[in-house]
């Protein structure tokens, strides 16, 4: 089997230290260099799906893809009716559908997470920063609507000290009813770039992450690496 039989998009070049490792798929390209937007968007989607908390919104990537889609719309419309371009038009619409699907899937995955823990996202500065402007306004209107529903169906019938949406009882110091996602879980991760030894446990254990490895690993261990783009989740 030819290890480098994929194409012009393959950035791999060097084999890793273990002899058994071959890079086949173009989708093993490292970091952001030479990676298509599809690959970047796909990674963003999978990272969102697998991570327990919401990740930083990829504003630039989404805007770029949206601009590309819009540009293509006009191109495709221009080809309408020209017989020579019929095949090209079909191919381009198909590609457009694919890109649109991927973009929607990414945005939907984020919306689902927002709906799960809107309250805590609005409450924590750090999490609020990770949302886009539209997502922030969606989170507030969702929380308000949810709150209105809860109040009218249940909370207003409870004794006065227990009617809060965010605290278990009036006078509680923290907002204990706000749901924060549980970070103690395992994920499958693909290492895109050599990370060396990464702290992995309370007793100073480390794990070695080499480029091309697929690992079953604690989310907390790779959290920062996912943000940096050195690791992506599968």
């Amino acid at each position: 089997m030819d290890p480098n039989d994929s194409s012009q998009r393959d950035q791999s070049g060097q084999p890793s230290t273990s002899g058994m490792h071959h890079e086949y798929a173009t989708q093993d390209g490292s970091l952001d260099m030479g990676c298509s937007d599809f690959e970047l968007l796909k990674r963003a989607l999978l990272n969102e799906r697998m991570a327990p908390e919401i990740l930083q919104y990829k504003e630039e990537l989404v805007e770029r893809v949206k601009a590309g889609l819009k540009r293509q719309e006009t191109e495709i419309d221009a080809m309408e009716g020209q017989r020579d371009y019929e095949l090209v038009r079909q191919v381009l619409s198909y590609e457009q559908d694919r890109v649109r699907f991927l973009l929607k899937a990414y945005l939907r995955a984020r919306l689902e997470k927002i709906e799960q823990s809107a309250g805590s996202m609005l409450d924590t500065e750090a999490l609020r920063e990770r949302l886009s402007k539209q997502e922030r306004s969606y989170a507030s209107s969702f929380f308000v609507a949810m709150g209105r529903y809860m109040k009218s169906s249940v909370l207003n019938d409870l004794p006065p000290n227990y009617q809060s949406l965010v605290k278990r009882y009036e006078g509680e110091a923290e907002k204990r009813l706000l749901d924060t996602p549980d970070e103690a879980k395992y994920v499958f991760a693909r290492v895109l770039d050599d990370c060396g030894q990464v702290p992995d446990g309370p007793d100073g254990q480390t794990a070695e992450l080499r480029r091309g490895d697929t690992m079953a690993i604690k989310y907390t261990t790779v959290k920062a690496l996912v943000e940096a783009g050195q690791v992506c989740l599968l």
């Binding site: 058994m20 599809f38 499958f188």
Partner: protein, 202 residues
């Protein structure tokens, strides 16, 4: 309780697999030779000239009888034989396969039967693929039996389909161990601070 949903569904894996490059031989040409897409420029499309395109494009052209698909190198009968040998020869690790090998193979077996010609006959390849999948699956099951605590496990060589097969079981078991460890830590901690020396609970 129903089993937890998979975060990546098989249809989505197939969607991602369709982006992988595959070789085709077109029998037509397009104006300007290339097709300028949003993400990439596809081509050059010239009759009887081999070109690499994403699988979705290959399948679309194939459906319209505009191109012939060439079997990828890893899906030939000989490659599969070698892969099976390697799998059997290394009980502790998986031989490297393209991440989407399962999805791509199924797509080709279903939609591009005419790519399987000559010595890479359809039934031969299909049987060998089934064998390979079985050998790998047995290895995975063995590995699952050996989980006895939280650990960081390297699982190089597994494909998307296989990760999904073991995801609930594997991740579920590891998550459970993680929870149990947290409980154990919480329970044994007060004893340490109260007495000032370490005294184990068990």
């Amino acid at each position: 309780m129903p089993p937890p949903q998979l975060p990546v569904r098989p249809e989505e894996l197939e969607f991602f697999a369709e982006e992988e490059l595959i070789q085709i031989v077109p029998n037509c040409s397009v104006p300007n030779k290339y097709i300028e897409g949003i993400l990439d420029r596809y081509g050059p499309f010239e009759p009887n000239r081999v070109v690499e395109v994403p699988t979705w494009l290959a399948l679309q052209l194939h459906k319209r009888n505009k191109a012939r698909i060439l079997l990828p190198a890893w899906l030939t009968s000989d490659s599969l034989d070698e892969a099976i040998e390697r799998e059997r020869g290394s009980p502790d690790s998986f031989s490297a396969q393209p991440y989407h090998y399962m999805e791509l193979a199924c797509l080709l077996l279903e939609h591009a039967k005419d790519a399987f010609t000559g010595s890479d006959d359809y039934f031969k390849v299909r049987n060998k693929l089934a064998q390979l999948v079985n050998v790998r699956r047995h290895k995975m099951e063995e590995g699952l039996r050996q989980i006895s605590g939280t650990a960081t496990v390297r699982v190089n060589g597994l494909g998307g389909y296989e990760l999904n097969l073991i995801r609930n079981n594997f991740q579920g078991a590891l998550d459970m161990f993680l929870k149990l460890e947290a409980v154990e830590a919480a329970v044994s901690a007060p004893l340490v601070s109260a007495t000032g020396t370490f005294s184990s609970m068990s």
